[in-house]
Structures are given as structure tokens and as C-alpha cells.
């Protein structure tokens, strides 16, 4: 129990410190130390000079600028701090051979070489080069953004100190292709004076003399120094910095130089995300980063995407979604505006994720949104228009073969044929398809092409005190079936304030409104396209719907069954301050509120379908309209406090971070139900009948309190070490299980920096090996699982409703976190002048204590409580390669490939299991020790029985098997075919995933393709797709003349038997290899030439055409199904292809 106490102390320690520091800041208004001393604790007799300087800084509210290595390691008598400011500085500096200059509130300390006077007016030229403190050059953990290079400082002093004799310089900074580069920082070397380029790359700056040196720098480009000489116009071209490892990467609660990274982090840049038009952010991550698997199963318009993100496989038996952190706060990712994203880091190994502790077991995705750069306002517009088309359009068997198949199936079942030859020929030759409807036309009649478009406008700009970026989005997606659509309206404002040299603040606001609608039962629409809707006319000329024998018509369900309308309002606000307490020590605090309100109105229409030919006959009627309205609100607040320190001591670079975070989540939902509205247009909940109305609702809340820290140490930029720890407390647990500890350690070695490596350096410019180990957790357990409670129940006696109370769940007070332990060994390299970069990782991940409701003997009589049991392991490798080059003729190309293998295995289920779900007629899955999680489970088969003798000699699944039936294998040789003969028959999650991106550009044209695929994954089709006409469903063309008859003994499919499932039990016959390779995107873009740009007054502009999901290689192609779709009946909104035209322009 002392641990939480200790940690609370740490927080209170921070609190105390901060309050103290605040006191000091406020005290800066006082001019005398004596007043200060009243608030000061007793001090030691002597203190180091550096510390004394820091004290003085804090005490007087001034800013001291100095080079740390110029400050000698000497002790100062504590009483040297007494007195007025100037006196104190004199006391401190003079004995050390130092002096100072004052520029407003900044005091520049330098060695006493130049004779100066404290009262002399300082000119910029005298703020000599050494004055730029090297302590500032260390990138700091707190800046989660890289928009402003860290060495840039704009103290208020320099801009005001411009002397009249300054030379005014104007110029332009351009990229290699000649386009102006906005946001480039230009610094007068050795000073804090500088500016940035505007939208066109132009700049103006005054310099003191001809000797002045300008430093041009911009993230992603090599910095350049230019001596002014006699020029007043300076035009330069910045070369792109191809040394990718020179970049910084966003990591948990900070950033890190890529070269000193010791963990497995995949980085995705904004331009990679927006190249492919998608409706959902999850989809944008597909195929980009090794080890990040996106299963994109399409999905209807709206936020409920069926694209899931998995980092390094399936870790647990509950949710495997990674933790999405947007700008430091957990936020939904799939609905985010991709145009607002600056970068994404996917943290994969425990070393990088452990700092997120209890929620990090499935990996962490860190999203950083765009922020403004200083300079003239820049307006960006991006928009696209796309046409969506379904790519799951299974083809129905032709009429005649279908009718014959039915006859065969009926005869095989012992019944009589249904269609005589005369009927067949009459039907086939008929031209009136109202009287002689085709069996299934739904994939042609329900699905249609649908538009999708997106518009984004952003404005950003600012000065040194204030920078702001406002982005606005409007996105609309039509449905490929009637009554499906979605639109998103969104505003984001990210602002940054510089309050003083040491204090900055940012305020971000994001509002997103998503409206989407589907038919009230989306399932009915897509289910009946396959099932129970044969022979129905979609719509007669007068608008009457035809209905099948089962009363179905998917078009009717889509058009008149009612609507489910949803509105989601998402509001996010965050305020953040960063305060440099003393040089090298920064404190930041962020407070964020997330508000999500959702309103669902599910209105079922009352309707009646009459017979087209005999309107007195009711074919279908839904007599009552009804409305279920659900409203829910989630409020979540997050507080993040961080204290970070970084410094360099010779060859030693040290960074440290401690933090405290808390999250409180409150959720509340209410629902109301009424029926029998006056007509279908009256849809207000209060207007329904008072009979049979109903309401419900629930409140819940949870909290998370966390303490965390990190230490980085680098020796000579060669030997790198990092340690992370997080101590998390969750309201989901009780007693001594509330808190848990998640540590991680990692180390890296940059071999390429070693002497012995020099001969190789011409080929390999960068080589780093790294390794990590760590633990993360998962708190995926229902609320109050530890709480022994009685639940309310309802019963009735003699027509009166009575309430009862009973225990229904066993409580488990011993519940605690799932723990995932992960080891990672990796390698990063740059070869051939950085043309080729390589990242490789091997990982071994073990999740222990998986929270699951282990079945308990039901003789106990209560529902099983969640328990910490079960182990799942994931081992795998990941490889990322990028090769880029540019020929002399100006042809530039980049090829990026990624590959990942993941071996998933359920290691232990605490002596329980296996858990089998599904059935003979649907996919059957098993969770069993030694097998991959949720593997396909079923019979092995050995072809088809060909003779009666063969059947006699072998056990069968059901009695009375006949030739042409499936021969299921008696695996255990016990003479029976039953569930004991079932075995592993396939994987549901791909073992291999891969992606390939190519980018070719020549002059103004760029051709981009993205390929993505998966291998060693299996699909089990079921329902109508598998039943080959034996029931009343869609019957795929693939079966045409391809089923067993005595004349066709070698047919691919067994004999059909009407209303009989003997041949379609879940078996290896029903498993289809789900591997695929797909061209996700192909895009051709054209950058408008300079002349044209000038005419339209744009900085740059690009137009493109692209196609998504246009080409796929897969065994499921012959079923006209999407290979990314999951096993089963395909009763979902079909996957789509997109053809897009788009425009990106910057003004």
C-alpha cells in the first residue's frame, strides 16, 4: 500500500514545486531580495554558480542567456544572492571572469574579453555569436510539434533593437523544383533575430552589415548559411534533407530524434494519409506501415466503419483496438479529418508504449495535428469528387441452369421435381419479367454508383506571439444503396501563444458534426439480397414492390422500411501551457475536455404492400410504425502534467520526464420508445401512442490516474539508453488491485558512428541496432466487475408487474490488468547515400492474465465473472524498405515496401476451453490452446463419395449418404463422424501482410501507386453463397454445371440436396484462401506550372485523378467478393471502389 502513497507524494511534490515556482514568478515584481527572503527556506552556505544563476533568474523574473560550458564549476557564497539585481549579478559573475549585457529583460552573459559598461546601449552586432546558448539547441520533450525548429528563438529584444544603419534584404527561398517554400526560418547567425518566409517563399530582413550570415532552415531540408556580402536580394534554393534519420519522431509525451530512437515506432506523414480518398481515417493507414494491419471491410457511410486497426496481431480476447492519442488526449481516430493531421506515430513495442501503461497493450497510435507556422496567412484548399461503386457484386446463376439445379436438388432430397420441361422453356423464353421474374436481380437493382466528395479549407499564419491554424471540412458520402448517406462538417482551430520567452500556451478547439442515415435495418437490406427474396419483382411500373414467398424485397427494405438517422456531435477543447522554469527544465500542463453527444432515431415505417395484379390481396404489412430514440452523452476530461529536463554534459546527453495524468469519463444514455404514430411523417417521440411506450437509460463513470516517467541517456550519440515506467490506477478494480506498474527498458547502438565502421560508411551511412523489453496493460473489463450486486428483475403475478432482486453475476474482487510483455530487437539503416533506408524488427509479445469470462460450471448458477486467465502470444518480424533516387534527367522515384509476419497463438486458457463459436452452417471458430486465436474449425474432407460401396465402407456425417455427397474424414478413426473429428482448417487473421508504394515523378507529373495485400488467411463463405441453391437463397453462377451428377463425377461441388445441409457443413471444402494483392490506389497528379500559378495567384496547385480498389488478385474474385471481407454470409454493405478527381491548391 505504500506505493500509491509514495506516488501521490510525487504528484504533490510536483504540485508543491509548481506552486513554489509560481510564487517565485510573482515575486519578480519585487525589486529587493530582502522581501524575497521571507519566503525562502534556509539555504546552504555555498551553491554552484550555475544553480545560483538559475536562482537569480527565477527570483528576478529575468532571462539569462549563456553558454553552459562558459560557466565555471565554482561555488558561490549563498549571501552573494543578497541585494538588488545588478548587484547580485555583479557578485556572481565578476569573480568568474564573466560579464553581462542587458537587452530588455534578457541578460546575456559572456566572458569578460570585451570591455563593456552595464549602461551601454547594446547593438545587435554586439550580441556576438557565442551568445546563442547551446542549451537551447537540445530538442525538448515538450514540443509535441516540429513546426518551429528548436534552435529558433525570437526574443522580443532583437526586433526592437534594429539600428538605422541596417541593410534591408529581400529574397525568396525555393525548393529544388523552383517552387517557393513557405515557413522557412531565416536567422541572422549568432543572434535571435530572424524571420520566416511567406506563402510564396519570399522574405524580408534587415541585417546590420555585409558580414552578416543568414541561416536558412526548414524541417526536412538541409540548412544553408549565406554571407550577405553586398547583396540586397538573396534568392536561394534549399535542398531536401534525404537523411530521414535526421528527423524527429513523435513519441509518448514528447519527440525524439530518429537517430536516437531505441524503440519500434512507425511514422506516417500527412501526405501519405491524404493521397487516397477515404471516408474513414482507419482506412488511410492501410498498407503504409509494417506491423500495422488494417482489415478494411468497407461499411456503410458514417462513423461506424468496419475498418479495424491492429498493431502486431491479436493480443487479447476482447478489444484489440490500439489506443489512439490525438494531441496528447485519447480521442476517436476514425472520424478525424485527415487533412488536419501533421503526422502519425504508431508505437509498436513495449519500450515506446509502456509510458501509456494500462491502455497500451494493443499498441498506441499518436496523432499530431497541424499547427501554424509564423508568417503571412496561407490558405490551403483540397477537395475531391469521387464516384463509388460496389465491388462485391456476386453473379446469380442463369435462369435455366438454376431451374434445373432446383429440380436436381429436389429429386436428390427424395421430393419431386418442381419445374417441368414445359415450364422451364416457358419461363426461360418469357420476355415479360414482371410475370416471369428472374430469381435474383438485387445486385443490379439495389446497388448503384454514388458520389462522394470532400472539401477542406485551412488558413494558417501568425507572428512570433500568436500563430493560428483554422481548418474547415465538409465531406459528403452518398450510399451505393438507397437511403444510405453521411456528411461531416468540421472546424478545428489550433492556436499557439507565446507569452514570454519561457511561457507559451496553445488552445485547440475541434468541433465535428456527423450526420448519417441508413435504412432502419441495414441488415435486412443486405441479408435479403442473398436470402429469402427469390422470384420477387424489385418494383412494378406503378411503384408497387414485389415480395418473395418469405415476404422480402431488399429494395423495399431500403426504400420504405424506415430510417435510422444519427447525429453525432463531437467537441474537443484543450488548453496547454508550457513553461520553461529554468533553462533545461520545462513544465507543461494540458487540460482537455471531450464531449460526445449522439442521437439515434430509428423509425420503423408502417406500410402495406399490395399485390400488383390483385390489389385486394395484401402481400406484406407492417401495421405499426414505431420509433426508438436514443441519446447518449460522454464527457471526458483529461489532465496531463509533465516536467521535463534535458541537458548535455560533454558527450553525455540526458533527458528525463516525469508526468501525472488523470482521466475521468462520464457516460449517460437514455432511450425512449413509442409506436403507432399518426403516419410515417410524424416522427416526434411525443406523438406516438401512449400504449406500449417504454424508456430506459443508464449512467456510468470511470477514472484513471497515472504517474509516469522516462529517462533517456545517450553517450556520444552512439550508445543510447531509455527507460520508461507508468503506474496506473483504474476505477475498474478494487483494493490492492487498483494500481499496477508498467516498466520498459531499451537500448540502441549506432554502429555507424564507430571508428571501425568507417570503411563501410560509403555504403552504409547509418546503422543502428536496438532492443527493448517492457510491459503494458489492458483494462478491458466491464465496470463494477468486482462489485457484488443484486440486479433488478421483473415478473408478473396475476397481471400486476412486480420487481425482484437477485444475484446474477459472480463478483471477482481479485480482478486486475492484463499484462503484455514484449521484447523487440530492431535495426535501422541508411544505405547508398541515404537512398535506401531499412527498418527491421523482430518481436515477441506475450499477453498474460487476459481478462475473460472464463466459463464456470453452470451448477454454480451465476454468470461467470471476468477473471485474469489466459495467455496469447504474438511473434513476428517486420521489414520496411524505402528506396529513392533522382536521375539527372529529373526523373525522381521512390519505392517503399513493407512486410510483416505475425504468428499468433493462444498459449493458455487456464485449463478451460476450447471455446467454439459458430456452427455447421456458418463459420465455426475456435479459441484453443496451441492454435491461432479464433481459427477456423471444422471437418477435413476427402473429396466426394463416388459409389455406394465407398459409402458403406466409410462412416458418414448423416445416415443415407449417397454418391456425390461429401466424404468427411474420420480423423480419430472411431467409426463415426462427429465433432471429435473437427480440426484446425484455417486462419481468420492474416499471417502475412504487405504493402508497396511507388512514386514516380517527372517534371510536373507524379504517378503514385499503392499496393496492399495479405497472405495465409482464410475465408469461410456461408449462407446462400455456400448452400448452392439448397435453400431459398441467391445461387452463385460458379455452381453452374459444376455440381456432382452421375454424369459429372469430377465436378467441383457436391450434389445439391434440397433443404439438406449434409454437404455444406463447415469443412476445409468451404474454406477459401483469402490471400490477396490489391492495388489500393493509383493516382496521377499534375502540378501546375509557375506561369499558370502566377496567373491564378496561387503558391502551388496540383490536380489529380485516382482510382481506389480497381485491381485485385484473389481467389475470391471468382465469387465476386471482396477478399478483405470477413467470413460468413456477406450480408453487409459492400466494399466499394472509387474513381476520383481532386485538386490541392495553396494561396
Amino acid at each position: 500500500m505504500y506505493k500509491p502513497l509514495l506516488l501521490s507524494f510525487l504528484v504533490c511534490g510536483i504540485t508543491g514545486f509548481v506552486q513554489n515556482a509560481n510564487a517565485q514568478v510573482f515575486a519578480a515584481n519585487y525589486t529587493t531580495i530582502s522581501q524575497q527572503n521571507k519566503n525562502q527556506p534556509d539555504r546552504k552556505a555555498s551553491i554552484p554558480l550555475k544553480e545560483a544563476l538559475r536562482d537569480a533568474e527565477a527570483r528576478f523574473g529575468i532571462h539569462l542567456v549563456y553558454k553552459t560550458d562558459e560557466i565555471p564549476n565554482r561555488l558561490i557564497a549563498a549571501d552573494a544572492l543578497s541585494g538588488k539585481l545588478e548587484q547580485v549579478l555583479e557578485n556572481l559573475l565578476s569573480p568568474a571572469g564573466l560579464t553581462y549585457k542587458k537587452v530588455r529583460n534578457t541578460y546575456i552573459i559572456k566572458t569578460q574579453k570585451v570591455k563593456t559598461s552595464g549602461k551601454e546601449m547594446l547593438t545587435p552586432s554586439e550580441t556576438s555569436p557565442e551568445a546563442l546558448p547551446n542549451t537551447r539547441a537540445i530538442s525538448n520533450d515538450f514540443s509535441s510539434l516540429r513546426t518551429v525548429p528548436s534552435q529558433l528563438q525570437f526574443p522580443t529584444s532583437s526586433t526592437h533593437a534594429v539600428a538605422v544603419e541596417d541593410i534591408k534584404i529581400a529574397g525568396k527561398v525555393a525548393e529544388e523544383n523552383g517552387q517557393g517554400l513557405p515557413g522557412v526560418s531565416i536567422l541572422l547567425k549568432g543572434t535571435n533575430r530572424g524571420t520566416t518566409t511567406d506563402a510564396n517563399g519570399a522574405f524580408q530582413l534587415a541585417v546590420p552589415d555585409e558580414k552578416a550570415v543568414l541561416v536558412f532552415s526548414y524541417v526536412g531540408y538541409l540548412p544553408q548559411e549565406v554571407v550577405v556580402g553586398g547583396r540586397t536580394a538573396i534568392n536561394i534554393t534549399l535542398a531536401a534533407d534525404t537523411k530521414a534519420l535526421g528527423e524527429v519522431v513523435v513519441v509518448g509525451y514528447g519527440v525524439q530524434k530518429k537517430t536516437s530512437l531505441t524503440s519500434a515506432v512507425a511514422e506516417v506523414k500527412s501526405e501519405q494519409l491524404t493521397r487516397r480518398p477515404v471516408s474513414n481515417a482507419n482506412q488511410a493507414l492501410q498498407g503504409i506501415a509494417p506491423g500495422v494491419t488494417i482489415l478494411d471491410r468497407g461499411g456503410s457511410p458514417g462513423p461506424n466503419s468496419r475498418a479495424t486497426v491492429r498493431v502486431r496481431g491479436i493480443t487479447t480476447l476482447s478489444s484489440n483496438d490500439p489506443l489512439f492519442i490525438v494531441d496528447g488526449v485519447e480521442q476517436p481516430f476514425n472520424t478525424i479529418n485527415l487533412d488536419d493531421i501533421e503526422s502519425i506515430s504508431v508505437l509498436k513495442d513495449a519500450s515506446s508504449t509502456a509510458i501509456y501503461g494500462s491502455r497500451a497493450a494493443n499498441g498506441v497510435v499518436l496523432v499530431t495535428t497541424k499547427r501554424a507556422k509564423s508568417g503571412k496567412a496561407v490558405v490551403d484548399y483540397s477537395g475531391f469528387y469521387a464516384v463509388q461503386n460496389a465491388i462485391n457484386k456476386p453473379e446469380m446463376m442463369d435462369l435455366e441452369p438454376y431451374m434445373r439445379l432446383q429440380n436436381v436438388a429436389l429429386i436428390n432430397s427424395g421430393a419431386a421435381a418442381k419445374f417441368s420441361e414445359a415450364q422451364i422453356s416457358e419461363y426461360v423464353n418469357a420476355t415479360d419479367r414482371l410475370k416471369f421474374p428472374l430469381p435474383n436481380t438485387w445486385f443490379k437493382t439495389v446497388l448503384r454508383a454514388a458520389p462522394q466528395f470532400s472539401q477542406n479549407v485551412s488558413v494558417s499564419g501568425g507572428n512570433e506571439f500568436f500563430r493560428g491554424r483554422v481548418g474547415v471540412r465538409y465531406q459528403k458520402q452518398g450510399g451505393i444503396a438507397p437511403n444510405f448517406d453521411s456528411d461531416v462538417k468540421e472546424i478545428r482551430a489550433n492556436t499557439d501563444f507565446k507569452v514570454s520567452n519561457r511561457l507559451s500556451a496553445s488552445v485547440d478547439i475541434n468541433y465535428r458534426n456527423n450526420n448519417w442515415q441508413t435504412p432502419v435495418s441495414e441488415f435486412n437490406v443486405f441479408n435479403t439480397m442473398f436470402h429469402g427474396s427469390l422470384w420477387a419483382v424489385p418494383k412494378y411500373p406503378d411503384g408497387t414492390y414485389g415480395v418473395s414467398a418469405q415476404g422480402n424485397n431488399p429494395l423495399m427494405y431500403a426504400e420504405i422500411a424506415g430510417l435510422s438517422r444519427n447525429i453525432q456531435d463531437y467537441l474537443f477543447g484543450s488548453g496547454k501551457v508550457e513553461w520553461e522554469i529554468i533553462p533545461n527544465l520545462k513544465f507543461s500542463s494540458q487540460y482537455a475536455i471531450r464531449y460526445t453527444a449522439e442521437q439515434n432515431k430509428n423509425y420503423t415505417n408502417a406500410y402495406t404492400v399490395l399485390d400488383y395484379y390483385n390489389p385486394s390481396l395484401v402481400r406484406k404489412t407492417i401495421p405499426r410504425s414505431s420509433l426508438t430514440e436514443i441519446r447518449s452523452v460522454t464527457r471526458e476530461t483529461t489532465l496531463n502534467n509533465l516536467l521535463g529536463y534535458s541537458n548535455t554534459f560533454g558527450q553525455h546527453e540526458v533527458k528525463a520526464l516525469v508526468g501525472y495524468s488523470e482521466i475521468q469519463n462520464k457516460y449517460n444514455t437514455i432511450s425512449a420508445y413509442r409506436e403507432d404514430f399518426y403516419n410515417n411523417d410524424v416522427q416526434s417521440i411525443g406523438s406516438g401512442s401512449d400504449n406500449n411506450k417504454n424508456s430506459g437509460g443508464v449512467d456510468s463513470q470511470w477514472g484513471l490516474r497515472s504517474f509516469f516517467g522516462r529517462v533517456n541517456y545517450a553517450l556520444a550519440d552512439k550508445y543510447l539508453f531509455e527507460a520508461n515506467a507508468r503506474y496506473d490506477g483504474s476505477s475498474r478494480f478494487t483494493g490492492d488491485k487498483v494500481y499496477s506498474f508498467f516498466p520498459s527498458f531499451s537500448a540502441g547502438w549506432r554502429l555507424s558512428e564507430e571508428k571501425f565502421f568507417e570503411p563501410l560508411r560509403t555504403v552504409v551511412s547509418e546503422l543502428k541496432v536496438r532492443g527493448s523489453w517492457g510491459r503494458t496493460g489492458n483494462q478491458a473489463v466491464g465496470l463494477y466487475s468486482y462489485f457484488q450486486t443484486l440486479n433488478s428483475s421483473t415478473y408478473t403475478f396475476g397481471g400486476s408487474v412486480v420487481q425482484g432482486y437477485v444475484q446474477s453475476n459472480l463478483a471477482n474482487p481479485n480482478l486486475t490488468w492484463e499484462t503484455t510483455t514484449q521484447t523487440d530487437i530492431g535495426l535501422d539503416a541508411q544505405l547508398w547515400n541515404n537512398r535506401l533506408s531499412v527498418t527491421f524488427d523482430y518481436y515477441d509479445k506475450l499477453t498474460d492474465g487476459i481478462l475473460l469470462n472464463l466459463p464456470i460450471p453452470t451448477t454454480v448458477g451465476l454468470n461467470a465473472p471476468p477473471q485474469n486467465a489466459g495467455k496469447v502470444g504474438n511473434k513476428g518480424i517486420e521489414l520496411g524498405l524505402t528506396y529513392r533516387n533522382k536521375t539527372k534527367s529529373g526523373f525522381a522515384y521512390e519505392i517503399g515496401g513493407n512486410f510483416a509476419q505475425n504468428n499468433n497463438k493462444v498459449i493458455d486458457l487456464a485449463k478451460t476451453g476450447p471455446y467454439i463459436s459458430g456452427s455447421d452452417i456458418d463459420p465455426r471458430y475456435i479459441i484453443k490452446e496451441g492454435l491461432p486465436y479464433n481459427a477456423h474449425w471444422g471437418y477435413k474432407t476427402d473429396g466426394l463419395f463416388q459409389t455406394a460401396d465407398e459409402i458403406k465402407a466409410y462412416p458418414t456425417l448423416v445416415p443415407n449418404m449417397k454418391p456425390g455427397d461429401v466424404k468427411y474424414v474420420d480423423l480419430n478413426n472411431d467409426g463415426k463422424i462427429n465433432s471429435d473429428d473437427m480440426t484446425f482448417i484455417g486462419l481468420t487473421f492474416p499471417r502475412y501482410t504487405f504493402g508497396l508504394n511507388t512514386n514516380f515523378s517527372y517534371k510536373n507529373f507524379t504517378l503514385f501507386t499503392q499496393w496492399q495485400g495479405a497472405a495465409d488467411v482464410d475465408t469461410r463463405l456461408s449462407g446462400a453463397l455456400a448452400e448452392m441453391g439448397n435453400y431459398e437463397g441467391f445461387t452463385h453462377k460458379i455452381y453452374t454445371d459444376n455440381y456432382w451428377t452421375p454424369e459429372r463425377p469430377n465436378a467441383r461441388f457436391p450434389r445439391p440436396v434440397k433443404l439438406d445441409l449434409r454437404n455444406v457443413s463447415t469443412s476445409d471444402r468451404m474454406i477459401i484462401d483469402g490471400s490477396y494483392l490489391r492495388m489500393k490506389t493509383i493516382q496521377l497528379s499534375y502540378s501546375l506550372p509557375k506561369g499558370l500559378l502566377e496567373r491564378i495567384k496561387a503558391g502551388r496547385a496540383t490536380v489529380y485523378v485516382s482510382g481506389t480498389n480497381l485491381l485485385t488478385f484473389s481467389k475470391l474474385n471468382e465469387w465476386n467478393l471482396d477478399p478483405e471481407a470477413e467470413s460468413g454470409r456477406a450480408t453487409y454493405y459492400p466494399q466499394t471502389s472509387l474513381t476520383t478527381v481532386g485538386l490541392n491548391v495553396q494561396f
Binding site: T15, G703, L790, G804, L1059
Partner: protein, 523 residues
């Protein structure tokens, strides 16, 4: 520059707010703690109310569905494999019955373990509530033994570890327990209850009669049944045809039922058992020819009797009225006012073969299918009768016959049922042998109690399943022009292995979780 100082202040406040102690200490507001309960009389009643939902409801149709008189209409239902005799220990129907029964037992055990904590001087109330709980627990054990034979006897609130080591108790011991419990419970229970539907003395005794009959303890069965009869609390309802209507709820014949009310605590009997043509109904289990043919003519003669005047072309005329009270046959009025016409060529939604969802035999259950539920088939308020006076009479008769204590009371018991006001079959011929009477009482049970959840137990007790549960399954006979055609379920054959099928297997999962559980022989 004052703003410069405001931000640190905000930060400081932010940090301070982090010390809210209740953050991790949340309390649910939608459930109550066990610790604060079990204090007052009100708690006692609330707790006893919670026991009743564990009674059987529409699941009785699934149990009936796998007998000779019923066919599982859709072959992909799990019960279809049981009907065919190809089920195994993984079949989910035995598992769900097992689970539900032990859930009911746990509730009663919880109740009995805690009820004495309630502070009250009203000892009669506590005694009565205990009697109800013990009867409800005995109900579950009766069903469990009937389905599985030996099962673990759990009479306390056990934990997971105990659950892993339970052994099966012999049926004989469980019958001892059940009969003793019901005897004692009956002593504490009143003849009638203010709350209709609560367990009464009669319910305990009638259940005792049923349990004793199933246990083959005929004397006890006869005695218990006689006690119910002699109590004069119950009487046959005047109309068999209306017995399962809303109007007849809580009638004089009902001894124990599961009570329902529309909207709040409803069942879906109409949707699951009604004819396919009736909106969302699904005729999940449909009567077979075996049952329909068993109803005699109104003159009491079997239809196979050449003198019965049975007309195969008009097969439903002049039959035992219970046939058309229990089963929809061709020509019957449907709840929506149309005629039921399941002939394959009729063109109606109910036509056999119209869709595989329509009845495959041409028959659909009529008991419990009420017009009132037509538009809300999934929201029915009709009570499901679990024990009625007719059964007690037949139990009495059967027990006496087996004891060979044949006297006028035996004939009287059977004849009361045959001569209900709207049934009016001729009385049994007198002077029948024990064997003849045995046949008579068994047939009466079949016809009177069809689809009331007892047939499976009866064909097991009588050891006739191996005769009646084999071979092809047939449905209606209809005129196709001049020909009479009889529906046969295509590609469907029942198998019954007397060496193992007389009991369901102990569910596989239970045996994996508790290795102490042995399996029934043959499985």
C-alpha cells in the same frame, strides 16, 4: 504582462484539481449492493419475486419439439439433430436446459441461505416464502432428472471451486430429496395465494405427484395427486378450446404457470409457434401425423378402426374436439381471419414448400396462438401453463393403474377429462384390464397434454421412444385430384438408440469444467 503570471496560476490550479480522491472510487447507480439487502419484509418479498422468472416458459416447446408428435421445422435448428438422433454432448439444447435449471436452483439456494437474515416477526410470511422457494427448486430438479438422470444435487450457494468438484447424485437420492422438500413445503404453503401465480400448497403437492410418478413411486404419486383432488381447490375448466386463451388465464384448472404480461414481461409464443402466414410467426416445431392421427373420432373410436366412420378425404371432421383445439389443420380459421391451407398447391404463405419456413407437415400448433397477439407476435402476455389439474387426474389414474389399484376413481379421473364440457368423448368402457387401462391413460395423456412439455418425459418413462422415434416423419394427407397424398419430410430419418438416447448427454462443457461429472452410458 500580467498574463504571463496567469498561466502558471492556471497550471497550478490544474495540478491541484488532480487530487480529487473519488476519481477511482466509483459506485454504480443501476444496481444495489448485496450488503444492504436482506433486512426487511419487503426485501424478502422482492427476493422471492426474483425466483419466478427461472420457471420454464416457451422452452417447453423445444423439449416437446424433439418427440414423436413434433417435428423441428428447420433442419438447421440444434434440436433437429436431437430429433434425428444424431446429437452429441455439444448440442446446445441440453446445455441451455441444464444451465437454466441450475440458475433457478442457485436463486432458490441464495434465497434460502439469506432469508433468515430478514428481521421480522411475521414468521408465517417467511415460512411461506421458503415453501415457495423449495417448491421452485424441486421443480428444477424434477426436470433435470427427467432429462439427464443423475445430476449434482446442489442445495447451498456454491463457489467456482466447489462447482469443479461436484459429483452426480443418484436419481433415487434426488427423488428422495425432491419428494421430501415438496412434502415439507406443502405444509408451509397456503391453499391459495393473493398473488395469482405464486406457488401454492396444491402446486407443491401436484409437483410431488408428477415427480413421484416419474420416479416410479406410484403410491406416493397417487397419494399426492389424491391430496390435490381432495383439496377441491381445483377443477377442470369448462372449455378445452379456450383453455390457453387470455380469457382463461388463472382459471380453476391451473396449478402452476409461468405468468406473463404484454410489454413488460412477455413471451414470443405466437412468433415462435404460430403459422408462418401470420405476420412474423415461424411455426418452429410443428405437429406430426403421428399426433394428428392419434386423436380418435368424436365417437371415441380410433381412425384406424374400420367402424370409426373416418373419411380420409375429410380427415378432420368428427374428430376428438381436442384435435382442432390444439392444432391448426387445413381449413381452420387463422388469427388473421383467413383460412389455413397448407396444401403445397394452395398458393398461400402456409403452403408446404412455398418456403422452407412454412410448416413442413401441414400442421401448426394452435394452443396458445391467440388472435390478440397477431400484430405483436413477439410480445405475448399469455401465461404458459406448467401444471394443471388434468395432469393431476391423469397422474392419479396412471399411478393407480401401475399399482393395480384399479377402482372407480381411476375411471372417474380419466372420464372427467374425456367428458369436459366441450370435449364430450364417450366414457371409457368399464372392466378394462390393467394393460388396457394403461394404454388408455397413456393415450389420454398424449391427447390432453400434447405440446405442454411432458411428452419427452412420458415416452422415456414408458420406454416407447425406441418404437415411436424411429424412421420417416410424415405430415398431412391431402387430396391432389383424385389421389390422396401424404407429406413426407424429404431426406429426413429419425434414429433412436435405446442404449443411450433415453437420456440426454451431460453437456460436454460441464464435464470439461468439472472432471468429476461422469457421462451417461453410450455417450
Amino acid at each position: 504582462m500580467k498574463i504571463k503570471y496567469i498561466f502558471p496560476l492556471v497550471v497550478g490550479l490544474g495540478v491541484l484539481s488532480g487530487c480529487e480522491q473519488s476519481l477511482l472510487d466509483t459506485v454504480p447507480n443501476d444496481r444495489i449492493s448485496s450488503d444492504i439487502f436482506w433486512k426487511t419484509e419487503r426485501d424478502a418479498i422482492l427476493a422471492s419475486n426474483g425466483l419466478y422468472p427461472a420457471l420454464d416458459g416457451v422452452n417447453i416447446f423445444a423439449i416437446e419439439g424433439v418427440t414423436d408428435i413434433s417435428h423441428v421445422n428447420q433442419v438447421f435448428q440444434v434440436e433437429s439433430n436431437i430429433e434425428k438422433g444424431i446429437h452429441d454432448a455439444l448440442n446446445s439444447r441440453p446445455q441451455s436446459e441444464w444451465t437454466a435449471a441450475y440458475r433457478g436452483i442457485r436463486l432458490a439456494n441464495d434465497f434460502l441461505a439469506n432469508i433468515d437474515k430478514v428481521q421480522t416477526t411475521n414468521t408465517a410470511l417467511i415460512a411461506r416464502l421458503k415453501g415457495e422457494a423449495r417448491t421452485l427448486r424441486a421443480y428444477q430438479y424434477t426436470k433435470l432428472v427427467g432429462l439427464f438422470g443423475d445430476v449434482p444435487l446442489v442445495t447451498t450457494t456454491i463457489g467456482i471451486e466447489e462447482g469443479r468438484t461436484l459429483k452426480r447424485t443418484s436419481s433415487a437420492q434426488i427423488w428422495d430429496f425432491v419428494l421430501k422438500e415438496l412434502t415439507e413445503a406443502a405444509n408451509d404453503l397456503p391453499a391459495t395465494q393473493t398473488d395469482k401465480g405464486r406457488v401454492t400448497k396444491g402446486a407443491a403437492l401436484a409437483l410431488k405427484a408428477r415427480a413421484a410418478l416419474w420416479a416410479g413411486r406410484y403410491q406416493e404419486a397417487a397419494d399426492a395427486a389424491k391430496a390435490v383432488i381432495d383439496s377441491k381447490t381445483y377443477a377442470l375448466y369448462s372449455s378445452y378450446a379456450n383453455l390457453f386463451s387470455y380469457a382463461a388465464e388463472n382459471n380453476s384448472e391451473v396449478i402452476l404457470d409461468k405468468q406473463f404480461i404484454k410489454d413488460t414481461y412477455s413471451n414470443n409464443v405466437f412468433a415462435s409457434m404460430g403459422p408462418y402466414s401470420q405476420r412474423t410467426a415461424n411455426n418452429t416445431y410443428v405437429p406430426t401425423k403421428a399426433l394428428v392421427d392419434a386423436y380418435p373420432m368424436a365417437n371415441g373410436k380410433d381412425i384406424t378402426d374400420p367402424t370409426s366412420s373416418f373419411d380420409p378425404k375429410n380427415p378432420y371432421a368428427n374428430r376428438d374436439p381436442r384435435l382442432r383445439a390444439s392444432i391448426f389443420v387445413q381449413g381452420d380459421d387463422l388469427p388473421d381471419g383467413k383460412k389455413f391451407d397448407p396444401r403445397p398447391t394452395s398458393g398461400t404463405a402456409d403452403a408446404i414448400g412455398n418456403t422452407y419456413l412454412a410448416t413442413s407437415t401441414g400442421f401448426v400448433l394452435k394452443k396458445y396462438i391467440n388472435k390478440e397477439d397477431l400484430t405483436t407476435g413477439g410480445n405475448c402476455g399469455i401465461n404458459i401453463v406448467l401444471l394443471r389439474y388434468a395432469e393431476v387426474l391423469l397422474t392419479y389414474a396412471e399411478a393407480k393403474i401401475e399399482l393395480n389399484q384399479i377402482d372407480a376413481t381411476v375411471y372417474d379421473a380419466i372420464n372427467q377429462i374425456r367428458q369436459r364440457a366441450d370435449v364430450k368423448l364417450p366414457a371409457l368402457a368399464t372392466g378394462l384390464s390393467q394393460a388396457q387401462l394403461r394404454d388408455a391413460v397413456r393415450k389420454e395423456r398424449l391427447l390432453e397434454l400434447a405440446f405442454e412439455g411432458l411428452r419427452l418425459f412420458d415416452i422415456r418413462r414408458w420406454k416407447i421412444a425406441e418404437k415411436v422415434m424411429v424412421g420417416d416423419v410424415y405430415g398431412m394427407t391431402y387430396a391432389d385430384g383424385a389421389d390422396l397424398k401424404t407429406i413426407q419430410i424429404a431426406s429426413f430419418t429419425r434414429v433412436f438408440d435405446p442404449a443411450k438416447h433415453y437420456l440426454w448427454p451431460i453437456p460436454q462443457k460441464e464435464r470439461e469444467l468439472n472432471p468429476e461429472l461422469t457421462q451417461n452410458s453410450g455417450w
